[in-house]
C-alpha cells in the first residue's frame, strides 16, 4: 500500500544536485518521479525509483545522506477537481499534508499524486473507504 521514496540531503550549492543525478545515470537508474524542497542553505531531493533498496545502497556507497521514507500515492482522475476531492477527505479527518507532488504518467487518464502525511494508516483507511485507488509500488514499471 505504501510507496517507498528516497529522500536525499543536498547543500544548496551549484553542482550538488548533479552529483546525485550522475550516480543515477552511471547506474542506469530511471527516475519515475521527483520533488525538490529547498531553503536558502539546503535542499531535500525526493525520488521515486524502481528497486529502491538497491538505489539506497548505491547512494550510501557514494556517501550521500539518504533515507527511505514511506509515502502514499493515489490514482486520481485527470480532470478539474480530482485533487481537491482527495484533499477534502484529508481535511475532514484533520490530516495534515506535509508535502505532495505528482508523477509524470505516460498512460491512461489518471494522474498519480504522492502525499506525505504523519498518520499514514489513518490516511489510507480514509482513501479506501472513499474508493480511491491507491498506487502500488509493484506497479512502478507500468507507468
Amino acid at each position: 500500500m505504501l510507496l517507498k521514496q528516497l529522500s536525499i540531503f543536498l547543500e544548496n550549492k551549484p553542482g550538488k544536485l548533479s552529483e546525485v543525478t550522475k550516480v543515477l545515470k552511471d547506474n542506469n537508474i530511471n527516475i519515475r518521479s521527483l520533488s525538490m524542497a529547498d531553503t536558502s542553505d539546503f535542499g531535500i531531493l525526493r525520488l521515486i525509483v524502481p528497486n529502491v533498496e538497491n538505489v539506497y545502497k548505491i547512494l550510501k556507497e557514494h556517501h550521500f545522506t539518504v533515507k527511505i521514507t514511506e509515502v502514499i500515492a493515489v490514482k486520481i482522475s485527470d480532470r478539474p477537481g480530482g485533487l481537491n476531492e482527495i484533499l477534502n477527505y484529508f481535511s475532514e479527518e484533520n490530516i495534515n499534508v506535509e508535502y505532495m507532488y505528482a508523477f509524470v504518467n505516460r498512460s491512461g487518464d489518471n494522474a498519480i499524486i504522492v502525499f506525505k502525511v504523519h498518520n499514514i494508516q489513518h490516511a489510507i483507511n480514509i482513501l479506501v473507504k472513499n474508493n480511491i485507488e491507491i498506487f502500488k509500488y509493484e506497479d512502478i514499471n507500468t507507468i
Partner: protein, 434 residues
C-alpha cells in the same frame, strides 16, 4: 624498567616538591643569568640580581619570556650551552615565518624521557604494553618525545607516525597495540574508520590513548573512548618547555598532573601579567627548573587554563592544570565577546545527531562580525521534511547562543564535506579584514 624511580617522583609529598622547586629555581635563575645574554640584559635592565630570588614567591619578580624572544634569537642565541654539548634540536611547527628552535643536551633528553615516562605511567602500563605512536617524527617534539619516554619504561614502540589510516588500523589488529598516542582529532578519525570498516572491537587490544597537542572537550573524549574502547588521557606539552611530558591526566581524568619538579607553573592575567589564584583561568606560564640547553624563565604559553593545588585521588601532590580551554591567540573576539572554538565544540558534542566535525567561519558584513558554524548532516538528524531539519539547525543555534551569548548562523553541510585533519585541526576560518 625505571618504574620504581617514577613511582617515587609521582608520590612525593608537597613539602618535598616545594623544597626541590625552591632549590632548583634559585639555581636555574643564576644559570640563565650567567649563560644567556638575553636574560642578563633583562635582569640588569630591571636591576634584578639572581640572589634576589630566595623563595618560590619571588618568581613574580622575574621577567617573562615570550615566543617572540625565541624568534628574535633564532636559531641558537638563547642556548645556554655550547653546541658541542647539544645532542639534538627540535623546532615548532610555526605557521608563519621562521620556526622556533629548542636544543637538548644529553641530560635534557634524559629528563625528557623521564617526564614522558611519567605521562605514560599514569595509564597503568607495564613492559608488556605495545605503544603505537601516531605523533609525527621529525622536528616536531611529539614523535620522538613519546618514543624515548616509552623506551624509558621498556614499552614496545611502533614508530608509525601520523597519517595513513589503513596502515594504522592494520597495526592495531596485527601487532595487538595496547597504547595509542596521537592528536584527539586523529583518534576520532581512527575511531570512525574502525566503525566504517566494521572492525570488531573484540579483535583490538587497545586500552589507553594519550591524546593531546590540540584543544578538545570532555564530550569529544567520551566519543573517542566509545569508538576506540579506550581510556582517553589528556596530555599536555609544548616544545618550548620540553615537548610532551609537561603534564598528563591520571586515570581519574580530573586535571593534568604537571611534572612540577621540572616545570614550575603559574597562571597569570594575560593583560596585566599579575599572578592569579588557584582555580582562576588565565594564561599558563612555566619556568623550566632543570633544562640545560634551552631553559626558560616564566615562558608565556598563550594557553588558557587554571591550576588545582589539591592532592589527587591517585596520591599525587603535583599541581594539576585543567585541560587547555583555549589559546590567548586563537581566542576570537566576535562583536566584543571572547569566543573559544572549544566552547562551540562542547555544545555540539552534547546534541544528539551532530557529527564531531565542524568549521567556524567568521566574516564581517557592514562592520558587524558574523559567526557561522558549519555542521555536517548525519543520518540520525536527517529527515525528508524541511521543518524537521530546520528545527535541528535551530536547536544547535540556540544551544550555541546560550553559551556564547551572541547570535550565530548554523549551516548544515553534506557528510564528509568538512576537512578532516590528521594533525592539528584547523577549526576557524577568519575572513575578516581587520
Amino acid at each position: 624498567m625505571n618504574f620504581e624511580k617514577i613511582d617515587k617522583l609521582e608520590k612525593m609529598d608537597i613539602n618535598q616538591i616545594k623544597e626541590i622547586q625552591t632549590d632548583r629555581l634559585k639555581k636555574i635563575v643564576k644559570y640563565c643569568y650567567t649563560n644567556i645574554k638575553h636574560y642578563k640584559n633583562l635582569f640588569d635592565k630591571q636591576k634584578l640580581k639572581p640572589e634576589d630570588i630566595k623563595s618560590l614567591d619571588d618568581v613574580k619578580l622575574l621577567p617573562f619570556t615570550y615566543k617572540t624572544d625565541l624568534r628574535d634569537n633564532y636559531p641558537f642565541d638563547l642556548f645556554a650551552t655550547a653546541l658541542d654539548k647539544v645532542v639534538r634540536v627540535h623546532a615548532s611547527s610555526g605557521t608563519t615565518g621562521k620556526p622556533i628552535v629548542v636544543g637538548y643536551t644529553k641530560n635534557d633528553i634524559e629528563v625528557w624521557a623521564e617526564t614522558v615516562a611519567r605521562t605514560l605511567y599514569k595509564g597503568d602500563v607495564s613492559e608488556k604494553d605495545i605503544l603505537q605512536n601516531g605523533y609525527g617524527y621529525g622536528l616536531f617534539t611529539g614523535g620522538l618525545g613519546i618514543h624515548y619516554g616509552a623506551e624509558y619504561l621498556g614499552i614496545t614502540v611502533i614508530p608509525v607516525s601520523g597519517g595513513n589510516t589503513p596502515r594504522q588500523l592494520m597495526l592495531f589488529e596485527d601487532f595487538g597495540t595496547t597504547l595509542l598516542t596521537c592528536t584527539p582529532s586523529y583518534a576520532m578519525l581512527l575511531g570512525e574508520a574502525i566503525e566504517q570498516q566494521g572492525i570488531s572491537r573484540s579483535k583490538l587490544k587497545l586500552r589507553v590513548g594519550y591524546l593531546g597537542a590540540e584543544p578538545w572537550s570532555d564530550n569529544m573524549r567520551k566519543e573517542i573512548e566509545k569508538k576506540l574502547g579506550i581510556l582517553a588521557i589528556d596530555i599536555y606539552g609544548l616544545s618550548e618547555i620540553i615537548g610532551p611530558g609537561v603534564a598528563a591526566e591520571c586515570k581519574y581524568q580530573n586535571g593534568l598532573h604537571i611534572c612540577t619538579d621540572h616545570f614550575y607553573p603559574e597562571i597569570i592575567n594575560p593583560h596585566t601579567g599579575e599572578q592569579l589564584p588557584e582555580g582562576t583561568f588565565g594564561e599558563l606560564v612555566f619556568t623550566t627548573l632543570t633544562k640545560e640547553c634551552s631553559p626558560f624563565i616564566r615562558y608565556r604559553t598563550r594557553d588558557i587554563a587554571a591550576l588545582n593545588y589539591q592532592k589527587c585521588e591517585c596520591g599525587s601532590c603535583h599541581y594539576r592544570m585543567t585541560r587547555v580551554a583555549g589559546r590567548t591567540d586563537d581566542m576570537l573576539i566576535i562583536r566584543g565577546i571572547n569566543v573559544f572554538p572549544s566552547q562551540i565544540e562542547s555544545v555540539l558534542m552534547e546534541i544528539d545527531g551532530v557529527a564531531p566535525h565542524y568549521q567556524i567561519i567568521v566574516t564581517r558584513e557592514n562592520a558587524l562580525d558574523e559567526l557561522e558554524v558549519q555542521v555536517e548532516m548525519t543520518d540520525n538528524a536527517f529527515s525528508d521534511e524541511v521543518k524537521e531539519i530546520e528545527n535541528f539547525a535551530r536547536r544547535i543555534q540556540n544551544a550555541i547562543e546560550a553559551v556564547l551569548t551572541i547570535r550565530v548562523k548554523v549551516t548544515l553541510v553534506g557528510p564528509g564535506t568538512i576537512q578532516r585533519f590528521e594533525g592539528k585541526a584547523k577549526r576557524v576560518i577568519d575572513k575578516r579584514q581587520l
